[in-house]
Structure formats: C-alpha cells, structure tokens
Subunit: 304 residues, 2 copies
C-alpha cells in the first residue's frame, strides 16, 4: 500500500472571507472537486495555500475542518513546516490526530547559509519530538522561497536515519537533474516534481508524480495525462500540459490562479489574498483570463 | 523627546534551558548588563535572539518578562515581524501593552519576488489593525534573510503614509550607500545601521546609531565610541571597533557570540541553540575564543 496516490496532486488554494479568514465551505468544496476531477491527491496548507500567512491556530483549525471531511489519508498531504520547531511539531501532531499521516515539511526558512547539519538536525528534532511511527514526511525543497538547497546527499541521510518516516521529497526547484538524481540514487523514495512540466518524466522515472499549484485549474488535463502516461499519446498530452503551465507561469502564481477561480466560479472569495500578495492589475487579469479561456481552463473549472 | 536613545544598541542573544525553553533569568540579567555597560538600548526578539525559532506564545511570554523588568521605553525595541499578519499584530499589541512602543518589524518573509506594493500593504495592514497612536515602527531591512529589498522610495512612502508611526529603519544589508541615502532623503527618519562598522558614519549623518548582534560582547568598546564620537579620537575608536567586528564576522554570528558568552560567564545555557543553528566545531570555537580573548571581549563580558 503506497503512502501517496500516484499522479497529479494539487497544492490547493485557500479562498477567504471578507475579513480574510478562511472560507472553509468553499475550501472544502474545492478540495472535494479536485479529488473528484482526477487529482491523485491534495496538498493542503502549502505555499500555494498561503499557509505561512496564517497563524498556527488558523492552520490547526483548517486541519480540523479537513479531518471532518473524510478524505482518504493517501490522498492528502498537510503542509506543516514553520520557522519555529514548536509550531512544526504542533501542526504535525494535529495532522496525525486528524488521520493524515502524510506531511509536507519545509525546513526552518528564516535563516540563510544554514549548514546541511543544521537542516538535518531541524528535521530530526521535529521527527523525534513527534515520535509517531505513522508519520510520513515529504521534505519540501523550494530553494527559491527558503534560500536553502536540499541536496540528494542530505535527502539520503534523512531517509537513512528516519527509514519509513522520511519517505519522499517535493522538489519545487525546477531542477529536473536534481529530481532525476534523487529518483535514481534513492530507490523507493517518492520524488514529486513541483510542476506538471515534469509529470511524465517523473512517472517514467518511477516517481509518484507532481504536486502543483497550477493543478488547481489544470487538474482535468493533468488527470488525463496521468491516466494515459503509458500510452502512445503521452508525449503529446505532456506537451499540451507544458504549454498551459508555461502560459500560467508568466503571472505570479497565487494571484493568477485565484483570478481564474474567481472568474470561473463567480465567488469573490477566490480573489482575496493575504499580505504580502496583491491582485493582478485589471489589464493583466484580463489578458490572463483570455488565455485561460482559450486553454479551456475556465470552462473546466466551471463544471463543478 | 526621541523615541530611541542614541548610540549602540545590542540585538540581544537568548540563553536557553536544557529543554530549549528561554532561560528568562539569564536573559534578563544580560539585558540589564547590556544597558548598564553603556548600550543605548536593547533590541529583543530579533534575528540574533533567534526570535523566529520561537513560537508566538514563547515570544509573548518573553515580552511579559521584559514588561516586569522596568526598562525605559526609549531603550527597548521589540522584534515583532512574522510571516503571518495575525502573529505580527499580536506581538505588536503585546509590546504596546507591556509599555514598549518601539517595535522592529520584518516584512512577511516567506514569499519572494514580492512587489513594493505588497510590502507596503503588509505594513499598512498591521499598523491599521493595531491602530495605536503610541506605536513607533522601525522597518527591518535585512535582504540577506528575507530576500526582499526595501528601497528608500518604499521607506519614504511608508513614512509619509504613517507619519509619527513609521519612524525609522534598521538597515542590516551592509549597504552604506543605502543608509546614507535614506538619512539624506528622509529628514527626521531614524536610520540605524545593522553593524557597528557604520556607527560613527551613522552618527555623523545625523542618525541614532547602530543595532548590532556583536554588541552582545563588544558593548563596552561601542559605548566608548558612542560617548566620544565628536572627539578627535573618534576615527581611531571606530577603527578598533571595526577591526573587532570584522574578526567576529568570520564566524556564524549566533553560534559564535553564544560561544563567547558561555566561555566568559561559565553558563552553559549560552551555548544552547534552537534549530537550524548548530554550535561551532571545537576547533573553530577554540580559535574564536583565542581571538576574542586577545581583543579583550572575554574579560569585558566577565565583569558582570
């Protein structure tokens, strides 16, 4: 039994009420829609979900909301990595208590020029403090946000020290060579790409797939590729997926994806952002929506 | 009446108990010692204090400890900047309730490539939510940690929008030209250098001084320079201060400074670190302590 359902995962966006609290109704409906439309799973409370812009209590509350939704454990990953170890420990325990054993764990990300030893000990401290054999940790490697690069050697050390607990990585660096190296050097280690641009290569390398921000609006096309990745048509499907991804990547991810969600659903809560994010300009939003419409994304999201 | 006492401020280190909780007794004794030994003031819960490695509640508790210590408001700045606005708001309110109106505020630092508009709105959101006319905000500009550069134009916009509230900046970038530009272009705005290497230039430019990590162990020499900055001897004193700073800068700041504190006081709690920090190797520690002894730092700290 795999820990993670294979295919394309969505790093879910977080719709907000007018007071910038989480619109849990719209959130849960979106998570269910992503799973129904073919996402292998949902990563809650990640970068795309603006997790670090919410307080610990707000995040704990959202884990509680997800707990009551009855989502299968292998289709959920909960983001838990904070700067302060006590917060990471609290979120990890809450995820486990909610029945979600899979967590996506950023390293502490305030300090820079941190040694590999420091990153290793950061993970070790949290895992030992939680002390739960059910725990499955995906290391979250996102150097563009954290300023820290997590090498294959460090992944190997973590996987070896915490066998059956540190079971994979989400590599959001965009560096395919690093993902390929980790897949080859760490048999059985789940190497997720942080973009669907590498969905097919990841699956062909024996990996579980991707966890992607843009999957919030591209999930239908991604599900088609994931379901047909061994077919003769796979490269053509990947090319189409990549084309859409590269179009979306021209815009700041969270504001752009929320703009598409708002336009497709008519729900203003999708357009709301926590600081430091700001909405697209009216001109950028109009240009994006035109391209998203042409790519079929608006209609796909509308079919809820 | 100035908001900030002029001179050299120490960004205080945080000694820990064996369970990695804050040793509040040793902490408070150190803060008092810094003030007694000539520091113009103390910045609590900043980068050097490992603030972002403590949970919100741990930080609120420490503000409570400081509140009961009877430190004059103009000699204290409390670090309050978190990724999540609700946390920054809670810490700012707590500082004000504790009688400390000066806060040092990082921008939300998880997301990168954030626009000036996004940083402006982040500060605006917190200041408006706190809504307290007593509040005095020092913007914390530390691009090496946050990945965000705060331009003089952005400072001017914040100072103009929140007159009498956004009153200064701590510039930890090491970029003297930026500090000089802000001093010249923003009359009355308190531009603190993040290093005593620029203590004399800052005072000569009409600024309030520096807020420095290394002041935890160099405060005596810094106080001498601050007290004599208009004397004929000032450049020689600055040269000596700079020499010591550059020696210390060869080592990772927090582990190195804690090593000196532990060696000088014999209190092991100074050597303890929160993740992701790690102690110096035995070899590096020995070399550092030899240089610190030669520079007179160990003896200066010992006179408690």
């Amino acid at each position: 039994m795999p820990h993670f359902s294979a295919g394309a995962w969505a790093a879910s966006l977080t719709p907000l009420n007018s007071d910038l609290s989480i619109d849990t109704g719209a959130y849960l409906a979106h998570v269910r829609w992503l799973l129904d439309r073919g996402c292998a799973g949902v990563a809650a409370l990640g970068t795309t979900g603006e997790a670090n812009s919410f307080s610990l209590n707000e995040r704990l509350d959202l884990i509680g909301v997800l707990a009551r939704a009855g989502i299968a454990s292998e289709r959920m990953v909960v983001g838990v990595g904070c700067c302060a170890a006590p917060d990471t420990i609290a979120l990890t325990r809450a995820a486990l208590e909610a029945g979600f054993s899979n967590v996506l764990m950023l390293p502490p990300f305030y300090y820079k020029n941190v040694s590999d030893e420091g990153v290793f000990r950061s993970y070790a401290h949290v895992i030992e403090a939680v002390g739960d054999p059910r725990l499955k940790v995906l290391i979250y490697d996102f150097p563009q946000m954290t300023g820290l690069k997590i090498s294959t050697e460090l992944l190997a050390r973590l996987a070896s020290a915490f066998r059956d607990t540190v079971v994979g990585v989400k590599n959001s660096s965009g560096d395919w060579a690093a993902m390929e190296a980790a897949s080859k050097q760490l048999p059985g280690f789940s190497v997720f790409a942080g973009t669907e641009q590498f969905l097919l290569p990841t699956l062909r390398a024996g990996g579980p797939g991707c966890i992607s921000a843009t999957a919030n609006v591209t999930c239908v096309g991604l599900a088609e590729l994931a379901a047909n990745w061994k077919s003769a048509n796979a490269d053509a499907l990947q090319a189409k997926v990549t084309e859409t991804r590269l179009m979306l990547q021209q815009y700041p991810a969270i504001p752009a994806l929320k703009e598409i969600m708002a336009a497709a659903t008519g729900h203003e809560g999708w357009r709301r952002l926590r600081t430091p994010m700001v909405n697209l300009s009216a001109q950028d939003a109009a240009a994006l929506l035109e391209k998203a419409q042409a790519a079929g994304l608006i209609d796909a999201v509308r079919q809820r």
